[in-house]
């Protein structure tokens, strides 16, 4: 039995659950009045194709919808179609080169016009326009053509067999936009359509009435929404801006808002806010992993540009696997979770912590801190403190590490803790924190970007969209190493290079069988983590959001937009 089909079989049962859930709160549309949502990052635009920012994507998910979404377990749920196409139901061709979606009959846009296959085809053309600079282009990778078979049927054809054909039109990243509204906005003209970008016509539960960029959005219930009894709320205010503390306070302490997104706060701060009893923090796990990346190349400033931090200069001590392993062993991941994430984190040794089918269950060796073991390992590899200054050295190379990350309170606490532990095993650490807009930027002129990696170790978090890790694991092939010739672009931050790994990645791309895919993905994960310690995962980071105690129906979802089921939300304790 293929695991994928088993996964999809579960979809049917899961998708029924929300409906049953909502039964107890049936009623007419708009019965519960006003809903207040706060995101401490303010949405700039409601067109996910022009901005990949999470804040923009999630706010847009109240208005525009994809054909199907991932639910809180990572399973696929049909939204604008009757069922998710699979090989089993004939929606995906046997050779995996095409997928055929059938829209549900009778769906209307919020302006009353019918949703047709032409809109879906248009959405693909809009994003794939070479001049548009579409942020979600990778969702359409490998797509050869998107054609309308009839009014309600769309066929996506891929150039090569696609083991995961759910890139286009699936998940919050690629919702359907209305052809009539965006027809004049193709390619280079995309940014000129301010009205459309700020108020897209959609099929979702709400309609934009006022959009103020980077500030606030006002919405009302969509009169043409497919379920006549939804949404329960008549109006929505979506406020943006401020900081996570203030957002948490407004939901958990003052009760001014009903829902606050992504409270990146220390666990004790959230706990003390929750004591007020007005709201409840909720958490869920996805694939976001906070990790240490080891630089396998030499970032020493004494090297000339062009050699520094490239494969031409191997790292003086991090190229020694024993050192990398010792650094990992010295870390107490349980304590990091306790200090930084609380209920929203769990220690991990995996780069791919989920979904379950892809998680390497045997990779747990790093979970127990072992300072003595780390010392012995270094000792055995010849790294000893011969001059008594507390820092180990070998052949005149001292273990001095420059450890950088982006500016963020939790990350700075982690830096302090890890520096302490490394000090205990005889490694000296210099800390550096860099403004996130510089660190995560791709400015080839800046020495402080995470791709350029002018440091020995760096820490950040990364994840993958949806449930398939193929693209994520493919990032560590030799050719993806950032180097001066590629303007320092590339995702293989560590400059990891192993032909065996590259071969395995190629094999993953050609394998359709789910069990086989899982096996290969887990092997790739292990190669990067426990086998070589190139990437040292620290914490599997969940998402913490908070909702008011009077807000019902919230199901926190990390595989799609958090507001994925806002249509099902309702007010608890109303007299109606």
């Amino acid at each position: 039995m293929k695991l994928k089909t088993a996964l999809l079989g579960a979809v049917a049962t899961v998708s029924l659950a929300p409906a049953a859930f909502a039964d107890a709160h049936e009623g007419e549309r708009g019965r519960d009045g006003q809903l207040n949502i706060i995101y401490w990052q303010a949405p700039s635009i409601l067109n996910p194709y022009l901005s990949g920012g999470t804040k923009d994507l999630e706010s847009a998910s109240l208005v525009i919808e994809p054909l199907g979404r991932y639910d809180s377990t990572g399973a696929m749920v049909p939204y604008l179609v009757d069922e998710i196409p699979t090989v089993a139901n004939g929606g995906v061709s046997e050779d995996l080169t095409s997928i055929t979606w059938k829209l549900t009959e009778g769906l209307l846009w919020s302006d009353g016009t019918p949703l047709t296959s032409a809109d879906v085809v248009f959405t693909a053309e809009y994003c794939m326009d070479p001049e548009g600079g579409c942020a979600q282009l990778s969702k359409f990778e490998g797509v050869e053509s998107v054609e309308a078979i009839d009014e309600l049927t769309v066929k996506v054809t891929f150039g090569a067999p696609q083991p995961n054909p759910y890139g286009p039109f699936m998940g919050g990243q690629s919702p359907i936009i209305q052809a009539a509204q965006f027809a004049e906005c193709m390619g280079a003209k995309a940014p000129e359509c301010t009205d459309a970008n700020f108020g897209p016509i959609g099929t979702g539960p709400f309609v934009v009435t006022d959009f103020r960029t980077n500030d606030v959005i006002q919405l009302v219930a969509n009169e043409n929404y497919r379920d006549p009894n939804k949404p329960a709320f008549a109006t929505v205010t979506f406020k943006g801006g401020g900081d996570a503390t203030a957002a948490g306070r407004s939901v958990l302490e003052t009760g001014e808002f009903d829902y606050a997104w992504n409270l990146q706060l220390a666990p004790d701060v959230i706990a003390s806010m929750a004591e007020a009893g007005v709201g409840t923090p909720v958490s869920a796990f996805g694939t976001l992993v906070e990790r240490l990346e080891m630089n396998l190349t030499d970032p020493s400033p004494s090297l000339e540009e062009g050699v520094r931090s490239t494969a031409a200069a191997p790292h003086p001590f991090l190229s020694d696997e024993a050192v990398r392993r010792a650094l990992s062993m010295a870390i107490d991941r349980d304590l990091l979770v306790e200090v930084g994430y609380g209920q929203a984190g769990r220690p991990t040794c995996n780069l791919v912590p989920g979904p379950e089918v892809y998680a390497s269950t045997e990779n747990t060796g790093c979970l127990v801190q072992d300072i003595e073991g780390a010392k012995a390992l270094l000792e055995g590899a010849g790294w000893v403190d011969s001059n008594g200054d507390g820092i180990r050295e070998k052949d005149g190379v001292e273990l001095r590490i420059l450890y950088q990350t982006s500016t963020n309170a939790v990350r700075q606490d982690f830096q302090a803790l890890i520096k302490e532990w490394w000090g205990e095993i005889g490694v000296e650490t210099e800390l550096r924190n860099i403004d996130a807009s510089v660190f995560f930027g791709g400015d080839p002129g800046s020495p402080d970007t995470f791709q350029r990696f002018y440091a020995d170790v760096e820490m950040y978090a990364n994840n993958f969209d949806g449930t398939d890790p193929q693209a994520y694991l493919s990032a560590y092939t030799c050719d993806k190493a950032p180097k001066p010739e590629s303007q320092w672009q590339g995702e293989n931050i560590n400059r990891f290079c192993d032909p065996a790994y590259d071969a395995l990645v190629a094999e993953l791309g050609a394998t359709a069988d789910q069990a086989e895919r899982s096996r290969i993905a887990i092997e790739l994960n292990d190669m990067l983590t426990k086998d070589t310690m190139t990437i040292v995962p620290l914490v599997d980071r969940g998402r913490v959001s908070a909702h008011a105690n009077t807000l019902g129906g919230v199901v926190l979802n990390t595989w799609d937009s958090e507001l994925w089921n806002a249509a099902d939300w309702y007010r608890i304790g109303d007299n109606r």
């Binding site: 901005s51 979600q136 301010t194 606030v216 801006g241 401020g242 807009s437 930027g441 994840n463």
Partner: protein, 335 residues
């Protein structure tokens, strides 16, 4: 004086163009990337295409003149079209923000009401409180009033808004639940009730900001008054039997105003630069928040336009201050 003013206005044109150029080059040099806030799941090649779509593929010597053209020709055309219903602009490309892909000037206009209500009001309130405090503190130097004024203003100035603002929220919003902690920018003042709501939501940010202004202006007012109170002309006036109020309010005050005018003139552009931290804490989302978000997102057109408008204000306000010097003290001559 008139000739001087005209000459200064003419000089401001090349000055401002030069300032624009320096700001542009500064932003160009600064490390930063409009793609930095995109999730890491977007692959680098897609990000590169997005950068090209933003026009970042062109070199600076193409983009700077383009911005100048858009700022000085296209935007006024749109403004005229909007006012008189003409069509000069004819669909020309306006200055477009990288983040929202919408015209920069529309966003700035959207931010004006809350900026003026909160930051502008706090400045007016701050100055209006500061002047009498400064005058009385100087006239009754080392009285209880002066000591209290000094104490409060120095404490007020040295406590950063990221602390005092949160403290106010914890007391008045969380504990007492009297005031809202989040500013509603969509609120429209139409009747008495809505006006009261507006007052309630602006009182905390106005207090935090006014404290800073009051502290600063009152210290300069006091110091300058003290200098002048000890001057010979005051003794002479007293000897001649001029009334105390006339001495203080007419002679001393007028002569003491030069530093105060300077400080106030320097402060006005900062109103429009916004109070970044205070706006952030109270979610006022005015120009300050717009500027900081644009800076963090490397939204060059937005940063460039806002800072240039500020530069215009700075140059104009300093010119006004210089003209006022001449009026306050006719001995100052510029010719």
């Amino acid at each position: 004086m008139l000739i001087y003013t005209i000459r200064r206005l003419l000089i401001s044109i090349p000055t401002l163009l030069f300032i624009a150029f320096v700001i542009f080059m500064l932003l160009e040099l600064a490390p930063g990337d409009p793609m930095a806030q995109m999730p890491l799941t977007i692959p680098p090649e897609v990000k590169e295409k997005m950068r090209l779509a933003l026009g970042l593929g062109e070199p600076w010597y193409v983009r700077f003149p383009l911005w100048l053209k858009q700022f000085f020709i296209v935007e006024p055309q749109y403004w005229i079209d909007g006012t008189f219903g003409t069509n000069f602009a004819d669909g020309a490309q306006r200055i477009i923000s990288f983040q929202s892909r919408s015209p920069v000037f529309e966003t700035i206009a959207q931010r004006m009401p809350q900026t003026l209500w909160v930051v502008g009001m706090s400045y007016v309130v701050g100055v209006l409180i500061a002047l009498p405090i400064g005058i009385i503190s100087a006239y009754r130097q080392y009285s209880v009033f002066d000591q209290a004024g000094t104490f409060v203003s120095m404490i007020g100035f040295s406590v950063p808004p990221f602390f005092s603002g949160v403290l106010l929220i914890v007391i008045f919003s969380v504990q007492l639940k009297w005031l809202p902690s989040i500013y509603d920018t969509t609120h429209v003042v139409g009747d008495w009730d809505s006006f009261v709501f507006q007052l309630r939501q602006m009182i905390m940010p106005v207090m935090v900001l006014a404290l800073q202004t009051t502290a600063q202006v009152s210290r300069y007012m006091r110091a300058s008054m003290l200098d002048n109170l000890g001057q010979d002309y005051v003794r002479t006036a007293r000897a001649k039997g001029v009334s105390e109020s006339s001495i203080v309010m007419k002679h001393v005050l007028r002569n003491s105003m030069i530093p105060v005018v300077t400080v106030i003139a320097l402060g006005i552009p900062t109103i429009f630069g916004g109070a970044i931290i205070t706006e952030q804490i109270f979610k006022v989302n005015g120009l300050g928040q717009l500027l900081i978000i644009a800076l963090q997102g490397s939204d060059i057109p937005m940063v460039m336009t806002i800072t240039f408008l500020l530069a215009v204000l700075i140059v104009m306000m300093n010119l006004i201050a210089d003209v006022l010097y001449g009026i306050l003290d006719p001995r100052i001559r510029y010719d």
